[in-house]
Symmetry: C2
């Protein structure tokens, strides 16, 4: 299963029990967990793992480009293990559910040079908002 763990080892990442567990927790989830949710799941497998280690490891994974950090609401950041395929997010305005989506085209192309203010653009993050089928249903 863990492509991820293998890739990290090949890149000279010192593999500790803690790091492996954090990577596996992320890898096994198709949701976008917060740091504390990752910590909770990791704790189930290694009770003495510290919060700091989880934060450090998540930060490292983001720096390595293996995981994306998503800030949807100004509360806890969420971690998205699906970093290898470019994608955007679809968020339900009512219940907060998130899905990965894949729009067509290059969003950077839509920002004219005159609107770039000298910035060196790296990428664009798009959050589509709306109501999910459950929340839009009249009876629900």
């Amino acid at each position: 299963m863990s492509d991820l763990v293998e890739r990290l080892r090949e890149r000279g990442w010192r593999m500790t029990v803690q790091r492996r567990i954090v990577a596996e927790v992320l890898d096994g989830e198709h949701m976008h967990l917060t740091a504390d949710e990752v910590h909770a799941r990791a704790t189930a497998r290694l009770p003495e793992i510290s919060r700091t280690t989880v934060y450090n490891t998540l930060g490292d994974l983001v720096a390595l480009g293996e995981v994306l950090e998503v800030a949807t609401d100004g509360r806890a950041r969420r971690y998205d293990p699906n970093a290898h395929r470019s994608h955007q997010h679809l968020l339900c305005s009512r219940c907060g559910a998130i899905r990965d989506v894949h729009p067509v085209g290059d969003p950077l192309a839509d920002l004219p040079a005159g609107e770039r203010f000298g910035f060196a653009l790296s990428h664009a993050e798009i959050t589509y908002r709306g109501l999910c089928p459950e929340c839009a249903a009249p009876g629900a």
Copy 2:
């Protein structure tokens, strides 16, 4: 834009010194301030204004649709007084500076029906990321 203050009064908002000052602080800025930055500027004019009141007032303004809340990085939320003209944001990855920008085209058009998962889309928020001229400069 005592427009803003007027609009609020017409909508039955009880106008207090504190609320007027918060509205004026936002109105007078073309940056996107955090709640604590608003509080600092308000304090310069009314030293005893409380943090809670600033938070309450900002929350009310957002609920009234007069101000937009922007969550860019999972740290402090920023408040954007320019709620009446559709726009997106350009964010410096290093220093966190934000500018309003106006891309061309309709971002919703880029999301194929097959990628909408039954959601009733309302709008899309785009954050362009990159380095601002100051942070990109070698010596800075």
